[in-house]
Symmetry: C2
Subunit: 147 residues, 2 copies
DNA sequence: CGAATTTCAGTGGAACTGAAATTT
DNA sequence: CAAATTTCAGTTACACTGAAATTC
């Protein structure tokens, strides 16, 4: 790796993210799932029924791609699309029992991948890394904190 | 952002990397360049003439894609392909004067993007972040340190 | 012969765009 | 009428595969 790239935080960030993405993707693949599907289930579990547009905004996923993801999840009975009575343009998307169960199962696999990613760091270093990364994410995507 | 994702380092890493990649890409676009082209020029400047396969290995770029990148750079007179006398399977790729000059100009733009990415962090925090990220990159890609 | 290098042709998934239909 | 939501059709950039030709 040339000095020029090795000194670039943006390069370091990308290259630190890649192995983690792969590990997580592999874990999900063992259950036939993908990251975006897991993310959608996570939003639905925590924030109750929401519209597709809100889903996309929360996860920075394009409106078109949300449609495709939901088609798959709906076909597998993991989410439901109901008409929103208060605004008939919207669908009220909610997670099903089966969706919640699968989400819980996926959590365990995610934790495993997580540990593999952070293996070279101590507990306090992991906390510090998380803190710094959250600051960056929040700064570049206002209103992206938890809850 | 749901708690589940917000607590995932791999998610944080990806999402912290994205705005940086965009900023850097935009800076490069102003000179009609892309990240991979900059990376190739950086390797050539620092490590002198190397084969295409070595280039690809250093940057984790596929053999096929290196061909395309070099075609563009060669057309613009930024790199040269010479036959390697010691191993006639290889091309000896080297950076030209024009390539070096452009690289220096790009460096300034990269620094600017870099500052925008790390804006919310203090100097010591930036150093700490770099240290942690390097540990992760090195661990997941053995032999990827500087020099 | 097996292995490495360069090259091309093509595949598959991911991010994104544009436009239509509906409703606010 | 302007704006928002869902949907579909299509495009573009990108990582990767497979195979051929050459050389070690």
């Amino acid at each position: 790796v040339p000095q020029r790239l090795w000194c670039l935080s943006s390069w370091l960030l990308s290259n630190a993210a890649i192995p983690g993405s792969r590990l997580v993707a592999n874990e999900f693949a063992r259950s036939g799932m993908r990251r975006d599907q897991y993310a959608v289930l996570a939003v639905l579990e925590e924030f109750g029924p929401v519209s597709q547009a809100t889903l996309g905004r929360r996860l920075s996923i394009d409106r078109s791609d949300i449609v495709a993801v939901l088609n798959g999840l709906e076909r597998d009975g993991l989410v439901r699309r109901d008409p929103d009575k208060r605004d008939r343009r919207r669908n009220a998307i909610s997670i099903t029992r089966a969706g919640s169960r699968l989400l819980t199962k996926l959590d365990a696999q995610v934790i495993r991948a997580q540990d593999a990613v952070l293996e070279p760091l101590s507990d306090s270093e992991r906390q510090e890394l998380d803190r710094l990364l959250r600051r960056l994410v929040e700064h570049h995507r206002p209103g992206s904190g938890p809850t």
